[in-house]
Symmetry: none
Subunit: 147 residues, 2 copies
């Protein structure tokens, strides 16, 4: 074995040319991005929606959303429909509680996703889960979105 030659090297932020390295980097950094977003949601109570289209012909779409991509995007495009000051305080508290629950569930789903990846060694049934996936955040092939 060659002597230890490990560890990352600095990488310029320019388009990667090697296709397979690009795919690996895309997967790793996409996961990192979603994790950062999740942490920002939890730490600061921010609401975040992310949509990512993969490069190349695959052109798959991945998304992260708390509370949901659709809800936040509607608000973004509508430009002035924040939740506050209407209906009753009861509703508002209810919403806060639901948001907390959502964050917990999102974290739980993320944990389970990680566990499931480890479980892959056991079988292929995970694919079934992915096929049915939808909700607050998830990944899906683009063609599955145009139902």
């Amino acid at each position: 074995m060659p002597r230890r030659r490990k560890g990352r090297k600095r990488v310029d932020i320019v388009k990667m040319e090697n296709e397979s390295n690009l795919q690996v980097t895309f997967s790793k950094r996409r996961a990192g991005l979603f994790k950062k977003a999740s942490e920002l949601c939890t730490l600061c109570g921010a609401e975040i929606a992310i949509v990512v289209f993969s490069p190349g012909k695959a052109n798959k779409v991945y998304s992260f959303g708390h509370p949901s991509v659709e809800l936040l995007v509607d608000r973004f495009l509508g430009r002035d429909l924040p939740p506050p000051n209407n209906e009753s305080r009861h509703n508002h508290l209810l919403m806060n509680h639901q948001n907390a629950v959502l964050r917990e569930l999102n974290k739980e789903v993320m944990n389970m996703e990680e566990i499931l990846q480890m479980e892959k060694a056991c079988g292929e049934s995970i694919l079934e889960v992915r096929r049915r996936a939808n909700g607050g955040w998830w990944e899906a092939p683009i063609n599955a979105l145009n139902l």
Copy 2:
């Protein structure tokens, strides 16, 4: 003063209580998130849209989009957005939407739990082997699964 540089400490990913620290962290991490997104765009040629709503009453909106938030979101939704609503109606729809998201996430969690049971019944798994000494990983709190 004895130059005892303390540096950062580890921080739990839970809601920050100190309001001013929260604001600083929100700004820093939001900038970091957008930078990560930018790098992912450049390195891999991905297309990314991000919408962030700040916490608290300010509730300002920040966005990142390459090529643009609107374009990517339209492609993601694959549909026209609903017309503007009056506020109470909007709140009501909002609640309904959140309930829907909650149900989806709950279904997803249950789905994964079911899959995990099947995986477990199917045979050995990496995680199971690793955790066997502790009496079985599936009985442990999710947070105990330090990956």
